[in-house]
Assembly symmetry: C2
Homo-oligomer: 319 residues x 2
């Protein structure tokens, strides 16, 4: 692979190197609208998204990839000739001076923050959205982005007052998923909920004290589909005949939460959960049941369980 007339960057104190290192600072990222993706997984997903956007006639997300000779060998395995003009070779010392990670494994990419507007997100008629309300820990935020991607969520919202999702640790925790779906940042929870409700998306608050039990909702969802698809005449008729100890029927009566419906989940701050204002915005409060002695779940854990419950129900329904 050749890199035209570029020389190998070897001075860790060069202005450009310092400029990139400054992307570890939130204000600097915000001012420049740039952030750093570190390591092969993040860089690969950034490049994939970059070419996808360019193929659609849009602006890509990668400004420049800085890679050591070892990193360039790994990049060559990606076997995309389009990458060549984006790559600058650097010495290991220069890479270390640029990166936040102790071992960026041979490469970093300076990327453009490709954030969506609330309007664009809603216009795409999303069926599953994760909304982070004042989540503070970058690792938690990144883990939720990754879990939301795995569950096939259509969009992520990081509300104002949450951690910066372009923080190096958060980006790392997303394991590339930050480049897999539209991300809305900086909007208030109130505005986000209003826009989603207007688009017919139900708002569920993940809340340890919620009156709906997530596992009951899941059981209901499968029962509904099992009975609708098969032998039984109708749900009501069967529920009437069902007197044999299946749990929670009293709760399911009159339930207004249907997991199959388009849903946005609100996830709250690590220490306090969702506050009263945030809870009041939701159509329903749903608790992940605690079967042991634990008093609560880590927000990333709770979010995973909630998002997978919705995905499971939605992907198996005909709605």
């Amino acid at each position: 692979m050749s890199f035209g007339n570029h020389e190998i960057m070897s001075n860790p104190r060069a202005d450009r190197v310092r400029d990139i290192a400054r992307l570890s600072n939130a204000r600097e990222r915000s001012k420049r609208g740039e952030f750093l993706a570190e390591g092969p997984q993040a860089v690969r997903e950034a490049l994939r998204r970059h070419h996808e956007l360019e193929a659609a006639g849009k602006t890509g997300v990668v400004h420049t990839v800085y890679a050591t000779s070892v990193g360039i060998e790994r990049l060559e395995e990606l076997a995309d000739p389009n990458n060549i003009d984006l790559v600058r070779q650097v010495t290991p010392e220069v890479l270390a001076a640029m990166a936040d990670t102790v071992t960026p494994q041979g490469m970093v990419a300076v990327c453009r923050m490709d954030v969506s507007s609330l309007e664009d997100m809603v216009a795409r008629a999303p069926r599953l959205v994760a909304v982070l309300c004042r989540v503070q820990d970058p690792g938690n935020a990144g883990t939720i982005v990754r879990a939301a991607d795995a569950a096939g969520a259509d969009a992520m919202v990081i509300t104002a007052g949450s951690v910066d999702i372009f923080n190096p640790k958060a980006v790392r925790s997303t394991a590339g998923s930050l480049f897999h779906m539209p991300v809305v940042t900086g909007a208030s929870t109130e505005d986000v909920v209003a826009a989603l409700k207007a688009a017919g998306v139900q708002i569920l608050a993940a809340d340890g004290y919620g009156s709906f039990d997530l596992d009951e909702l899941q059981e209901e969802s499968v029962r509904r589909r099992t009975l609708a698809s098969g032998a039984a005449p109708s749900i009501d008729a069967v529920e009437t005949q069902d007197g044999s100890g299946s749990q929670g029927d009293s709760e399911t009566q009159g339930s207004v939460v249907v997991l199959e419906d388009p849903t946005a989940w609100l996830f709250g701050n690590e220490a306090q959960g969702l506050n009263d204002e945030e809870l009041a915005l939701a159509d329903a409060r749903v608790a992940v049941p605690l079967y042991g002695i634990a008093e609560s779940l880590n927000v990333g854990t709770a979010a995973t369980v909630c998002l997978y419950a919705s995905a499971r129900a939605q992907r198996r329904s005909n709605r």
Copy 2:
């Protein structure tokens, strides 16, 4: 609250303080069979377990709680007079010198490692067990312990070659759950699986390449119970009649994995997952489906989804 004739410990360089600080070292913990629980939540759960054991005529887990005057006020809210003789007051400087955490919030407890033997665990006829195979990150290990507790698991196993679960960061991530169930450490995965199989516990490997889809297994489980409890004559009869597009029927035919059955889940190393030897020990390999673009799940996330799937099925069945 009075502490008898004890003086307030005020010398951060005292031998006892250095001894406690050395518990941040794995070898030291192992040699002494002690570890440090830091912060109010961990200390409270340690004390609760301590009194539970003593009430049963057994040896408690707390040697000594070291607390600042502020910490002692928080401890008094626990309102357990039994705590008094376990508490030594220290200055904030002494506490800082003892603790691994930057802000241990006024208290730490020196605890005895209360590990179970494999034989004891199996003798209790566990229905849900989480087995960590070479998990390396203390935060991941702790998060899984917390999730296993939330899902009502009966025991945790941390196999040889995994991170030390008594590492300060791991203990912190458990949020007190380390004191909520029996923990087996240091056994080989082979021995653990042999003992569990002999006790009639099925072994499921959480494996991204697994041939069973966890969501299909969950659907099957609810369908089985819905149909068994209600109108329909039998599962087989209804599955035959069901031709209306419910997914995965071909996979469910002849399935040998029943989520309601007593289950131990194997969770693998962060980077490599379960290796071939570990996979070969399992009765079945089960994948958490990936609905989006993400290539994999964080091990803590995957473990949560698997453990909750089992808990949901087991707690609603009559087996």
